[in-house]
Amino acid sequence: MTASLTDLTLKDARAKLRAREISSTELTQAYLDAVARYRDWNAFITETPEKALAMADASDRKLAVGEGGPMEGLPIGMKDLFCTAGTRTTAGSHILDGFTPPYESTVSGKLWAAGAVCLGKTNMDEFAMGSSNITSYRGPVASPWTKRAENKPLVPGGSSGGSAAAVAGRLCVAATGTDTGGSIRQPAAFAGICGVKPTYGRCSRFGIVAFASSLDQAGAMARTVEDCAIMLEAMAGFDPHDSTSADLPVPDWTAACAKPVRGLKIGIPKEYRVEGMDPEIDAVWQGGIDWLKAEGCEIKDISLPHTKYALPTYYIIAPAEASSNLARYDGMRYGLRVPGRNLVETYGKTRGEGFGVEVQRRVLIGTYVLSAGYYDAYYLKAQKVRRLISDDFLKAFEDVDLILTPTAPSAAFREGDKMDDPVAMYLNDVFTVPSSLAGLPAMSVPGGLNGDGLPLGLHLIGKPWDEATVFAGAAALERAADFDVVPYGLERAA
């Protein structure tokens, strides 16, 4: 009975809650039990069962009188990058030890206002820097997925790895993520779930621990496209506290999921057909193309000539912004302080011990590319190439409505693989980074399994502010893929 409760989609759970077939307290308790049972996945950094039950109770009271918001009574995971008033927020870092925000992020606040129930704060790569959730100070996350044939843990992807594992493993009905270069879409692909990153400016960044300000966007992760749409509607909207937040109404994305895609023009960028591409990735991509063609879409080959420069551009801009954004973690006003003999030593020790190696690496790169004499060659150059990348997309979108690519160049891998070489690790984001640089809405949906039985993702990129068409296309792919495989880790453990 309990298992079926946690298997419900967000949409179905909401219907049952509204029909009062189930209570939020029941649903929340089922999820809390699951969270406890699969604690060794390490999907949550902080569990908030008491808060969850109190929120569920409040939701039940509202539902009992036919009230409540669009997320009323639905238990979700909150990525630990969102500041939550009164609940510790770590960003997966040692340096935020003991930090409890006295304020709520706009996005989490909107979700609570919509009635969502907080199960806890999900694990993540430290400061969202990583693609496998192994840089978290709170330890790596094990994916509920393993290869079909062997029971060895795989990474859930990152940086929103805890959220992906929790959603795929039925530890919550949906979860928030943040995406800087693919941190929602890549783990969604690895975990066989859906993940949407809206247009830059759609969701407020206020109260989200900043990684790279010009790239960070919050988004939704859930088991269906429509669930993502429902949740994103509750998260998005203008916020006067974020200067980069767009003052635009939030469209009815739930309705967009049911919109026919016949006649839509789908661009297939030839530059994404990278050399040495895994044939299984290519196959799933081709599958996606065929499905959309069958739905009546027009497939067009397009060119995004500067694609190969997207990753290097990203790995200048993101570390540069991060090096500055992370300067505030200095041990003076909150978080970890490791005392030295004087101020400079205290700074050095606090940041030396408080930041993990990947964060240090990026802060150092970012410091270097902004330093005197190098700014023009690196940062300025990267911002110019970024414009070219963005222009490539805008030009392509004169002819097409959506762009279809694979989400990631591989399926989930084992912790330790690809770890030695940072550059090899960065290549994980090769398909997601270009759209991040251009600020475009994009979504990953499960496209099928590879030979090992691991999920692979399909990736749709839309025009600025046109999440609606992304949802329509993603829903079409979802219907065609009919992906209903439950993670093997979940089955084995159950």
Binding site: G98, T100, P102, T199, Y200, G201, S214, P240, S243, T244, A246, D247, H306, K308, Y309, P312, T313, Y315, I316, S323, A327, G331, M332, R333, Y334, G335, L336, R337, P339, G340, N342, L343, E345, T346, Y347, G348, K349, R351, G352, F355, Q360, R361, V363, L364, I365, T367, Y368, S371, Y378, K381, A382, Q383, K384, V385, R386, R387, L388, P422, V423, G439
Partner: protein, 95 residues
């Protein structure tokens, strides 16, 4: 661009990150590797290109000049590693 250990040490000091000397060779290698990789941007002709300044072209906004926050000393200091009499206490700032 190949970074030597002295440069890495200088950057680390600038970033206020204490790096043990024995980590410098490895860091220098890694950072050089990353920089060598990003330098392929040099191939792109950007002479006539304006750097991207706003990701999405939305109108810039200004807020009203109204006091909306403050009078929350306890909140401000609640997370401080050390505080005294309403002040943050930090290691002595050497002039």
């Amino acid at each position: 661009m190949s970074l030597d250990e002295a440069t890495v040490a200088r950057i680390a000091r600038l970033a206020r990150i204490e790096v043990e000397d024995d980590r410098l060779p490895e860091l220098a290698r890694e950072l050089s590797n990353i920089l060598g990789w990003v330098e392929q941007l040099g191939e792109v002709d950007t002479n006539a290109v304006e750097p991207l300044r706003a990701v999405m072209p939305i109108p810039s906004r200004r807020r009203a000049d109204v006091v909306t926050d403050g009078d929350r000393q306890a909140d401000v200091l609640a997370n401080a590693p050390a505080s005294h009499d309403g002040y943050y206490v930090v290691p002595r700032v050497v002039e």
